[in-house]
């Protein structure tokens, strides 16, 4: 099934074929995940939101008009989910976060050593975080980052430079100087 095009898989998904949708979702998973990570800054939140967005895509696949546009459509859904997630997170932190210092322990133990780095990434301004995450976690070149974010190469370099300096400053503030 993996050799089928997005259009074929979308058509099959519309007919209720979950396997077809699973292949489609797996194909676009990484892009959606990196987008969510760029917006949210947390690997665990990004995972949750990506899954929610994918499931919503499955339920609403009937509303997708152009089957070839599944990739941008699902990314758009994920972005909207991120926005609502941030709103919920702000409310939660406002009422609960003041009593609980750490919201929850990361379930993936292999990422524990990077906890402070992740906190710093999360604190970065969105315009700095998105290119930094796309560059490092998406494994994309500066040119690809510029293309996906619809920016010039020099702007991406400039944002990466600023993001690096801001990250360094945040790590120092957290007391995590390397």
């Amino acid at each position: 099934m993996s050799e089928l095009t997005d259009e074929n898989l979308v058509d099959a998904s519309r007919a209720g074929d979950k396997d077809a949708y699973a292949v489609l979702a797996e194909r676009h998973y990484e892009r959606v995940y990196i987008t969510c990570l760029g917006v949210l800054g947390s690997v665990h939140d990004a995972e949750d939101v990506t899954q929610d967005a994918m499931l919503r895509g499955l339920l609403r696949i009937g509303t997708l008009r152009d089957s070839s546009q599944f990739g941008s459509w699902i990314v758009r859904i994920a972005r909207n989910y991120c926005v609502s997630f941030i709103r919920r997170r702000v409310r939660r932190r406002k009422y609960v976060g003041q009593f609980v210092g750490q919201e929850s322990a990361p379930p993936d133990n292999s990422l524990v050593p990077y906890e402070s780095l992740q906190r710093a990434i999360e604190k970065l301004p969105p315009e700095s975080r998105q290119p930094l995450v796309t560059y490092f976690f998406g494994g994309e070149s500066v040119r690809d980052v510029a293309k996906s974010m619809k920016l010039s190469n020099s702007t991406v370099y400039q944002r990466l430079r600023v993001a690096t300096q801001q990250l360094h400053k945040l790590l120092i503030e957290q007391g995590d100087v390397l």
Binding site: E30, E47, L55, L59, R60, L117, F136, Y157, R161, L167
Partner: protein
């Protein structure tokens, strides 16, 4: 840390992404070789970049596991579950407004068919005529009454308007007259008061002059009296002087 160090910080960040020209890279290396703080800073940035790459690698390593979890979730997903608020004819059909509209339509249709299907009763012409007459009369009377009311209202309004204009003119005239009267009275009163004051002043001046005349007369009288007294005394003095002279030289015939 001087200005040179601050400028080098940007170059260090660019150096991390291989976005530095050869001369800039040489300048940076040269600076870092002689500035220990900048060397430390550059090393920290390099370490952070390495940590980021490491972290990204770890996150990437867990990607397959996440995909599998998502696939399981997709398989568990109930496709009949509503996918949040969206435009749907079925949802609209199930809505309360639709139900109300359908109920109203049914009622109207039932009324229509009941009217059409029930047998029509024979008409009573006399009763119909009476009813029509009463109705027409009532409607005509109502029309005449309302037009009459309108006419009376218009007449009353125009009369009121005329009276208002007349009253306004009369009031203005009266007001002007009153103002003139008040002005004249004020002027007269003022003139009378001024004359009275002048008379009083003249009286005072006259009285003062009389007193002065009297005092002058007394002074003149006193002077005259003093003069007469002085003359009498002078005469007596002359007499006494002459007698004294006679007593001193009695035989000198040439002096007599």
């Amino acid at each position: 840390m001087n200005e040179d160090c601050e400028r080098m910080k940007d170059k260090m960040a660019d150096h991390l992404f291989d976005h530095l020209s050869a001369p800039d890279r040489d300048a940076l290396n040269e600076h870092v070789a002689r500035c220990s703080k900048c060397a430390e800073h550059l090393q920290a940035l390099k370490d952070e970049k390495a940590l980021l790459s490491d972290f990204a690698e770890k996150v990437g390593a867990g990607m397959q596991q996440r995909k599998e979890k998502m696939t399981e979730a997709i398989q568990r997903c109930d496709l009949t579950e509503p996918a949040g608020p969206r435009f749907s004819w079925a949802a609209i059909a199930r809505g309360p407004v639709t139900k109300l509209a359908v109920a109203a339509g049914l009622l109207i249709a039932a009324g229509f068919f009941a009217g059409r299907l029930l047998p029509a009763r024979s008409a009573d012409i006399g009763q119909l005529q009476t009813a029509l007459e009463t109705s027409l009369k009532a409607s005509l009377e109502e029309g005449i009454y309302s037009s009459l009311i309108e006419q009376v209202k218009r007449d009353r309004e125009s009369a009121l308007e005329r009276h208002y204009v007349r009253l306004k003119g009369e009031l203005a005239r009266q007001s002007r007259y009153e103002m003139n009267e008040i002005a004249q009275m004020t002027l007269t009163a003022s003139r009378t008061a001024t004359e009275q004051r002048l008379e009083e002043l003249i009286g005072l001046i006259e009285a003062a002059r009389t007193v002065d005349h009297w005092q002058i007369a007394r002074a003149i009288e006193q002077i005259e009296s003093n003069r007469l007294q002085d003359r009498t005394r002078f005469g007596e003095s002359l007499v006494s002087l002459a007698s004294l002279k006679n007593e001193i030289t009695p035989g000198d015939p040439e002096r007599n």
